[in-house]
Structure formats: C-alpha cells, structure tokens
C-alpha cells in the first residue's frame, strides 16, 4: 500500500469532466484536476483549443491524453478562448507535475456566469465514479 495526498483547492470551481477553473479577473483559467492527472498517468499529448474560438458551455474544445487513455476537455462556461498554455506542447506532463499552476491548459473570457462545483461537491463526483469502477486509487478511509 502506498499513500499520498491530492489537493482540491477551495478557490477553484470544478466540473464532472475533472476540470478546474480559477477566476482571474476578467477570465477563467482552466485545467485538469490533480485527481484526473494522477489516475491517467503521465500525459503525452494535450490537444489545445484555438485561441479566439467562441464556445458554448459544455463544448468539446481540446483533449488530454496519456499513453493509453484519452479524454476530451470541455468549455466550463460560454465565452471566447483567450490563451492556451503553449508549454504543454513540449512538456504535456506539466499537467501531472503542476496541475493547478504551470499545468493550466487554457483561459476563457466568459459571456455568462460559470455554474460549477465546489471542492466538496466535486469530491462527491470522485467518490461516485470510484464506487462505480474498480478503483486504481481510492480515498483513504479515515
């Protein structure tokens, strides 16, 4: 058995796609949660959205991919993509090493209010998924 700790920062909003969003006035900075990065393994490719593209909440706008796994990224809110993290092109595993900081994926200027989950609500999403599947990692019973 090995144990370590994953963090869900309280100042972020989350969604069921295992993404986070941080408000940095006037836009949201978005990325992949530490939980998702831990479960996926080292990322080998990040499909970045196109800067300037206009998206609706829930639109697929990119992808994150480890050696044997891939998942779409979705717009957490309607708006315009204002920047992408070009460093991920050469070093996609930044998402694993620094999911909430250097491993951010894109920023979006919102045209509406973001409806997301709190850290507590997102934790319930994780628990439900892990209960429905054979967990590779699981929350430690206290």
């Amino acid at each position: 058995m090995s144990t370590n700790t994953l963090v869900l920062p309280g100042d972020l909003r989350y969604d069921a796609h295992h993404q986070w969003a941080r408000w940095e006035d006037p836009e949201w900075r978005c990325g992949v949660t530490a939980w998702q990065a831990e479960a996926a393994g080292d990322m080998v490719f990040i499909g970045l959205p196109v800067v300037g593209s206009r998206v609706a909440a829930g639109d697929e706008l990119g992808s994150v991919e480890s050696g044997k796994w891939v998942s779409s990224m979705h717009a957490p809110v309607g708006g315009v993509v204002t920047a992408v993290n070009a460093a991920l092109r050469d070093d996609p595993a930044l998402v694993n090493r620094s999911p909430y900081d250097a491993g951010w994926v894109f920023t979006i200027h919102p045209s509406e209010e973001l409806v997301g989950l709190s850290a507590e609500e997102y934790l319930e999403v994780i628990r439900a998924e892990e209960a429905a599947d054979t967990p590779r990692i699981r929350e430690r019973a206290e």
Partner: protein, 365 residues
Amino acid sequence: MTISIPITRSREPVCEHTGPANSPAQVQTSLAGAVTLGMEKGRFSRNVHLRGLNLLLLYESGCRARCTYCGLAKDRPEVSEQARNHTFIRVKWPTYETEDILTRVREDAGHMQRVCVAMIQDHRAFADSNAVMRRFRDETSMGISALITATVVRSREMVEEILEAGADMFTVAFDACTPELFDGTRGRGARGPHRWEHHWKVLRWGVEVFGRFKTGVHLVCGLGETERQMAEMIQRVHDCGAHTHLFAFFPEAGTVMQDVDPAPMGHYRRIQVARYLINHEVGRVEDMRFNGEGQITDFGCDIAPLLADGEVFMTSGCAGHDGRNACNRPFGNERPSMRQRNHPMPLDAGARARAAAELEEDLRR
C-alpha cells in the same frame, strides 16, 4: 475550503531501474503491461483490459540491428545515448528488475494470460531470453511466447532449447513481406544483419519443433508493400504452418523512416480481412482479385458475416488459455485518440460500422 484527499493505492508504483541495465536481470515492459501490473500510474480508455504481458530484453549497448522503421535501431541517437527508458512503438517502455515483474505477476496478473519475451539483436539475447522464460515457466501459470530474433538463432537445436525453456509459442518477426522490402528495411540495404532466407529457415525449424500453428510471424503493414504482396506472404506463411500477426507502421522520431506516412486505413483493413480469411482457412489468396495497384478488390467469398461480427478487425496475436487472442496490445499502434487499426476488445456496433466503411477507403475499383 481546500480539501486534501489522502489516497491509497492497492499496489505501489515500482521505481524504474536506474543505472546500467542488462537482461536477464532487467527487462523492459510495455507501458500497458506496467500500468496493468500497477508498476506505473495510468489507466486505459474504453475499459480495455490488457491480456498479454510484453517484455523486451535490453542491453547497455542497445540493439545491434538497423531496421529503418524501428525505435530500437542502433543508429537512433536517443538509443545511442541511453539504451533504456526510450520509446518503442511510440510509447515509453519502462525498465524494471525482472524479479519485480515476476513478483507483481505472481501477486496478480489480472486478465493477462500470456507473456511474450522478445529478443533484440545481440549475441546474449538467446541465452538471456531462455533464462527469463524459465523464470516465468517455473513461477507463473502464464502461457509463454518466444518472440525471437531469427538472426541470433543459428540451428534447429537452438529452437529446441527455446521449447525446453518453457515457450509454447514461437514467433518470428519478419515485419517486411517481400525479400526486396526486407532487404531494404532490415538487411543489406539498411546495413543491417538480417537475412530473408535465414528467417524462413528459422520459421521452418519453429514449425518442426513447436508444431503446426504453434508458431507465428509478425508482419508490419506500411513498409511499402502492396496488399497483394502482403496477402501472398500471409498465404505462404499459413501454408508453412504458421499464423500471422499484423502490426501497422507508424513513424518514430529519429528513425530512417521518420518522415514516411502510415499506410492508409483502407490498406490495413483489407489486409486484416485477407489475413483472417487465410488464417481461418475460409479463403485463399488465389481466390482474391486485385487491381493494377495490387489492392484487393474482391476477397473471393462473402465477407458480410465477418463485418457483422467484427473480430476480423481485432488485434491478432498468440492465443491465451481460453483460445482467444491474448496479445491484444491496446493502443499499441496509435495514440488512444486516433482511429484504431487493431481493436483490443470486441467492437461495438458503431465501431463495426466504421471499420466496414474503412474497408472501402482509398480503394480504386
């Protein structure tokens, strides 16, 4: 409020071997194998389960061959500088202590039914491959495939030694399907050590020693062959008493063929169908029709039942205890986000329909 989640792993990731690495003490494993054994973090898309563990011998000096498409080729700079932890067939192949892999397999091999021990071109590979296979024979219940490098196998007696070491399947990587393509990608034309006729000699020894259809031949689609050439090779191998296992060429950075495009999807799909028909003795290459470019325009029989079933588009490899292919190599040819040439699990209705449509791609009637 920030939440810290203490998590546990049922199996602790294992540190990769650092420092000089040489088989049989150390071996490389596919990323899929390392993830399945819990040695590496990761998961599979589409709930795929790995059914076969692929191991690869390694030496500090690297592989002595120069195959123009292969990530192990000795001239590839990355390999010259560091003969381990490099990518092979596009993904990382981590290096572990052989003992650690055996420990994990004994604890829980999951869905894995077979181990495949692959040589590389090195004079030590024959003895070291046998040593690794003996460990798996004595300490696990997995079926054992010997993926041999024909060039280091010089006699029928050496093939008998491989059988005695525990292998129940004997596979030869021809990769190229004509003598000319073989020579240009692996032999004299590539300044490499491999020879077409010797590979055939070793294959025939394998059939004699292991028995008919206890041998297999690896073939790579996309090295410049026509569909007719590949189908004729599959038929020749089958008539010799061996199965064929298909792989798709994808360019690897740093190799001679790094700028060559993969073969079109339609090319691969038609060869998959031809292989299935021939290896299941439903059809023969003489019954197939080809156009002027060597593309298969008619398989000589009704393939509608095959397309409805979809197994024809699944990965081909050595069978497990249950008789089904145990070497499913999930996402072994292309990234998980790409169209899959080899499906590692049974196809759903949507995948079957897409694969059937792909059969017509790039086909000139």
